[in-house]
């Protein structure tokens, strides 16, 4: 009565199309662009979105011409063109549906139900999508209208939280890849954005068809913007290679920020809902529109028959392909060489004055769910052993694992700690080695710290192997704290004498500490990123066994995926300060004054007048802790500047070659010309570069 049946408003159309595109584009494009176009992913994305806009204009022209006459009978002489158009679109819908259904099922399985049979996930997901298609356009429009804010606002919020950890130096400069590569990347963007065609088939349901272009335009630029933000943040956090090698880049990004409040530990489980729901809209849309096309193509009497057939084809195809990468490959190949060219041609024909037949008919297919092997295996809480800290070391041919786990079996109602040492033959036994002597399920979801022993940390091949295993199986959260130790066994033996669990202790070192700050810590994500960017150095805290608990007694320099050298804490502090980390250090000036550093800002300038010069300027603000400064404030500042510059000068004599201040990485964002000259000559650049530290101290 109030609502017209099967009509959606402009707002509902915009939101529906935006959500339909969102799932596919954000889940895939950043990773694809990092892999294929590397540094110029942003450029390729911009180019691709422009292509999509042009395509959207073509759709607009076709829509204007076709209008509601999509539902009218085509004139006889043009029937063949129309039939071909429907056939091309039907095949596209089927392949798109298969690909995205497989994508959604794999995403759900990998993040939420690791031990589930993929076929069960495909069937259950398809069931819901078919139900969505059955309900018709009005319901889909209303769902999109309601869920829009609930999906996109948390996404943007988490992106904002994650963005605080990014470093933009890794992606600069841009426009350095060959034009052909950028072009290929743009075309790939265009193909992935093909879901915008769904909007064309929503046209007959739009209450006000004049608003078609508004909806298409908004969904394209919004999704382009989301992909851009995601790409920039992902590269800033993981690096280009790190981002390229992840299965679910967007979801993994959600595990990096620390969610304020302490109520929820990891958000990837909740945030994956965004993509599951967005992909639901895409798949149900493909089934809905495709079903109508099938019904029309084969002139089916009952509206729903075509939809049933199409659903069955999509589900069967998804199960047979069994793998999102393969499904994507098939879809991409079809679209690149057949789909897009034909589609463009046909749209031109339509714009030229064809009046397509009625293209819409309802047809549906419901697939039996849960006809395959059982449902997901849930493990009760009391049957789990939570690993809070993990130590890994190698000894001759053996791998040693040290597990610091929780134990709730004493019936006291509280968890106590237990340390288990296990010998294994290879890293892949990480999960199974413990299981051989325990009836409990090893749960790594609360792993706080990973301690790598010296032998392993110094062996580049072995360490790479371990990291590859961890990365491929996505075993641990990337923000797990990382430590080295010369004697991992000794560290873990301290567990029994500590009041808190070792893992929690190590994690809390950087929380509310008077001495350590987050910038001084290293995480597993840093090491995994380093595996892809071997030449970048970074520091990892090294633990030593104290009387009752472990202490950080030095910092290990990691380069080429191995621990090469140790730095004393004072030297490490110079490195942190030199990298702009606001460490809680107190500098003793002239052995008299104690200046507590409150804030540091770093700037780098490169010049190549006669030789390569890099000037690192540190603006340090501090507070005098032990005496009144009075008139001597400027003298203290000058003395402090001089002292620090000397320290840096001395430090650089020994460690310049290691580029601990990441000057080579900063080159791209500061001096494009120099970067172009040296971007493949890292060692030469570092060798030739004269580094000077300039300190500007300001005491409050």
């Amino acid at each position: 009565m109030f609502a017209q049946n099967e009509r959606i408003s402009t707002r509902q159309f915009k939101r529906l199309l935006t959500l339909e595109l969102f799932g596919v584009t954000t889940a895939l494009l950043p990773g694809i662009l990092c892999k294929t176009v590397q540094r110029d992913g942003v450029t390729a994305l911009a180019g691709g979105v422009l292509l999509v806009f042009l395509y959207g204009l073509l759709l607009k022209a076709a829509a204007k011409r076709a209008g509601r006459s999509l539902q009218q009978t085509l004139k006889e002489k043009k029937k063949v063109v129309y039939e071909i158009f429907l056939l091309v679109m039907t095949i596209q819908m089927i392949l798109m549906g298969i690909w995205v259904l497989t994508l959604a099922a794999e995403l759900s399985r990998d993040i939420l139900l690791q031990e589930m049979d993929l076929r069960v996930v495909i069937c259950t997901f398809a069931f819901v999508c078919v139900a969505g298609a059955l309900q018709g356009m009005e319901c889909r429009g209303r769902m999109a209208e309601i869920l829009y804010a609930f999906l996109l606002l948390p996404f943007l919020f988490f992106l904002f939280l994650a963005a605080r950890k990014m470093n933009l130096d890794t992606m600069q400069p841009i426009l350095t890849e060959p034009a052909k590569t950028i072009g290929k990347g743009s075309y790939e963007v265009f193909i992935v954005f093909q879901g915008v065609t769904l909007g064309f088939f929503a046209l007959p349901y739009l209450k006000d068809q004049k608003d078609f272009w508004k909806g298409v335009k908004k969904s394209i630029w919004l999704n382009g913007l989301f992909c851009l933000l995601l790409l920039v943040v992902a590269i800033g956090i993981f690096g280009i290679d790190g981002a390229a090698n992840q299965n679910w880049l967007a979801v993994n990004l959600m595990t990096t920020p620390d969610f304020p409040g302490g109520l929820v530990e990891r958000m990837d489980v909740l945030m994956v809902t965004i993509w599951i729901v967005a992909l639901f809209f895409f798949v149900s849309g493909s089934i809905f529109y495709g079903g109508k096309m099938v019904g029309r193509l084969f002139s089916m009497k009952r509206e729903r028959t075509g939809l049933w057939i199409l659903s069955a084809l999509i589900v069967a195809g998804s199960i047979l392909m069994g793998n999102k990468d393969y499904a994507y490959y098939v879809y991409m190949t079809y679209m690149k060489y057949i789909g897009v060219p034909l589609l463009l041609l046909l749209l031109f024909f339509i714009c030229a004055g064809l009046r397509p037949k009625k293209a819409v008919a309802g047809a549906m297919c419901v697939f039996l769910a849960l006809s395959f092997t059982g449902c997901a295996k849930g493990v009760e809480l009391e049957d789990r052993e939570f690993v809070l800290a993990l130590g890994v070391e190698i000894q001759e041919d053996k791998v040693l694992f040290y597990y610091d786990t929780s134990n709730t079996q004493d019936g006291s109602g509280e968890a106590s700690q237990e340390v288990v040492r296990i010998e294994a033959d290879a890293f892949y036994e990480l999960t199974s080695a413990y299981g051989q002597q325990s009836d409990k399920y090893l749960d790594y979801n609360h792993l706080k710290a990973l301690v790598i022993g010296k032998n392993l940390a110094s062996d580049a091949d072995k360490l790479s192997e371990l990291l590859q295993f961890i990365e491929q199986n996505e075993l641990f959260a990337r923000n797990t704290k990382l430590f080295f130790s010369e004697d991992a066994e000794r560290i873990f033996s301290l567990c029994t004498s500590m009041n808190t669990a070792l893992g929690e202790y190590l994690e809390n070192l950087y929380v509310d500490s008077d001495y350590y700050v987050e910038g001084q810590s290293a995480s597993l994500g840093d090491l995994i990123k380093h595996r892809h960017e071997k030449e970048e150095t970074f520091l990892v805290p090294v633990l030593k066994a104290g009387e009752k608990q472990p202490l950080i007694d030095s910092y290990g320099i990691v380069r080429d995926v191995q621990w090469i050298e140790k730095l004393r804490p004072q030297e490490a502090e110079l490195v942190f300060l030199g990298n702009g980390v606001n460490i809680k250090e107190t500098v003793k000036v002239d052995r008299t004054y104690a200046v507590k550093i409150n804030n540091v800002r770093k700037e780098v300038a490169f010049s190549d007048d006669k030789s390569i010069n890099a000037v690192v300027t540190l603006e340090i603000r501090g507070q005098l802790k032990n005496k009144e400064a009075g008139k001597q404030k400027r003298e203290i500042e000058t003395e402090m500047e001089k002292q620090l510059e000397e320290n840096y000068g001395q430090f650089l004599i020994d460690y310049k070659a290691l580029d601990l201040f990441h000057l080579f990485r900063s080159l791209g964002s500061h001096n494009r010309q120099m970067w172009q000259q040296y971007h493949e000559k890292r060692a030469e650049f570092i060798n030739q570069c004269q580094v000077t530290f300039k300190i500007k101290a300001s005491i409050e």
């Binding site: 109030f2 139900l113 429009g141 990891r266 009760e380 809480l381």
Partner: protein
């Protein structure tokens, strides 16, 4: 007038036809006596025993009428009747025996007079019923305490008392072949949508059933989506709430013998609104509304989320909490899903028992049940304390939903979500959530999409969102909700802020 027996001048024939109809009805009192100075005009009165009190007969209108007509001549009696000499306001004339019978069965006395081709009624005091009492199930902190009664006439009057306007229309429709239950459609002419009114009347007329004993029967027979657990009508026992609905352009259906009215159409948001929302300040009301919305989610999802988090996704919770949960579950013999279902079923049993047991015992059951289920079961290690807390919170949340039938839908959905979470974890919750939203997106109440004002509706100005999660200050709610007819959406003069 096929198959209808006309009232004839011969009173004996009328009496014969009438008594034939009510043969074996001992509760129908019939009296024959003579009127007129010469006692030469026969008269016959019939009524249901308790609806017209014998004690009152002499003081009643009927008694006054009989006394007066005993003083008149035969010719004057007929003129007296024609001119309604006693000035009775609530009287009517009937030309068939069936009409007479129907009228008597509504609680009035009927009178046949020899030589008169019509019978007429005199209003009685009506059937016995509860008077206007305080509302039991819809308590408010501010506002009227009155509740509807079991008489449709009284209920109509309670609404009329609040809307003293001739545009307030009352359409009477009978439902039930044998019960002939009187129903009244109350609406504001010019404000209510005529197409909705027509649809309601049509659906009422389509009902062909033996008897309608409660408005609940009409609800179930009129709703379009019978499979949905979500009600497509709103029931209330408060006259002020019904009056408010009428002023919004909705229609209220009153049924005789039912102390509950039905308001239609409805949407999702209307179930979270209570009458005292408009009597209290907007900040307080807004907070309460948000609590209700959050409570509805908790009532449906909390046990399922507990299962998903503890069985599948432990990484969601802080480590200390997870370890505390794990330690608390040590020794419990059942899987978590069985624990949760046991506790939920126990709670449902308690709730049902509390409703059925009368008086003060009903409250005692709650305390005893809580002690047994809560304390003893935990100490016996049958359930973990966490599950007791989860179930208790869920129950509290369901009580926070103002409408009991609407809350019942969440109770049903809760079990479905529990099963989905038990088998598929959070993924199952997401899939079920999608199916639920899909279902609600397709649900309508007399043409109004259930999810308004959160979704677009033709002609909607989105103003209704001002009275949804948050209730904006009253002076900003100058438009009626979309239930009202287009062009009649302004209900208040806009005020400068």
């Amino acid at each position: 007038m096929d198959n209808q027996t006309p009232v004839v001048k011969n009173i004996d024939e009328n009496i014969r036809n009438f008594e034939q109809m009510f043969e074996g009805c001992a509760d129908i009192k019939k009296r024959k006596f003579a009127l007129g100075k010469e006692a030469n005009v026969d008269c016959y009165i019939a009524f249901i025993e308790v609806t017209v009190s014998n004690m009152m007969l002499s003081e009643s209108i009927l008694g006054s009428m009989i006394r007066r007509m005993c003083e008149l001549s035969k010719g004057d009696i007929y003129r007296y009747i024609d001119e309604n000499g006693l000035g009775i306001s609530d009287t009517a004339e009937f030309k068939t025996i069936e009409e007479v019978a129907d009228m008597m069965l509504t609680g009035d006395a009927i009178v046949f007079i020899d030589g008169c081709e019509k019978a007429f009624k005199i209003a009685g005091k009506g059937y016995p019923g509860l008077g206007v009492i305080q509302s039991q199930s819809e308590q408010v902190t501010r506002g009227s305490r009155e509740s509807f009664t079991e008489s449709v006439k009284a209920n109509t009057a309670l609404i009329r008392k609040r809307i003293r306007n001739p545009e307030l229309k009352v359409k009477e429709i009978k439902a039930g072949r044998r019960s002939k239950t009187l129903n009244a459609l109350v609406y504001l002419d010019g404000i209510a949508r005529p197409e909705v009114l027509a649809e309601v009347e049509k659906r009422l007329e389509e009902i062909d059933i033996d008897g309608v004993l409660d408005s609940g029967t009409l609800e179930q027979l009129m709703e379009s989506s019978w499979k949905s657990p979500f009600p497509q009508f709103q029931s209330t026992e408060r006259p002020d709430k019904a009056a408010m609905a009428v002023l919004e352009g909705r229609i209220v259906l009153l049924t005789d013998n039912t102390p509950v009215s039905i308001i239609l159409p409805v949407n999702y948001n209307s179930f979270f609104q209570t009458t005292d929302d408009y009597y209290n300040r907007w900040e307080v009301v807004s907070l309460e509304r948000l609590i209700r919305y959050v409570a509805s989610l908790l009532a449906m999802l909390l046990p399922a989320m507990y299962l998903a988090v503890t069985n599948f996704h432990t990484q969601l919770l802080p480590t200390e909490l997870v370890l505390a949960f794990a330690a608390a579950r040590e020794g419990v013999p059942f899987p978590a899903v069985v624990e949760v279902l046991l506790m939920e079923m126990s709670f449902e049993l308690l709730r049902e028992a509390g409703v059925r047991i009368p008086g003060s015992l009903g409250g005692t059951i709650g305390i005893v049940g809580g002690l047994i289920v809560g304390q003893a079961a935990v100490e016996a290690n049958l359930v973990s304390p966490i599950v007791v807390i989860v179930v208790a919170l869920t129950a509290l949340s369901s009580f926070a939903i103002p409408n009991e039938e609407f809350g019942a839908a969440y109770r049903i959905m809760k079990f479905i979500f529990i099963l989905a979470a038990a088998f598929l974890g959070y993924y199952g919750i997401v899939l079920m959530g999608l199916l639920l939203i899909l279902h609600l997106a397709g649900l309508k109440s007399f043409g109004v999409p259930y999810l308004t004002p959160f979704v677009w509706v033709d002609g909607d100005s989105r103003e209704d969102l001002k009275d949804s999660f948050i209730r904006q200050p009253l002076f900003r709610l100058f438009r009626r909700p979309l239930f009202a007819r287009r062009g009649q959406r302004i209900r208040m003069k806009r005020k400068e802020e």
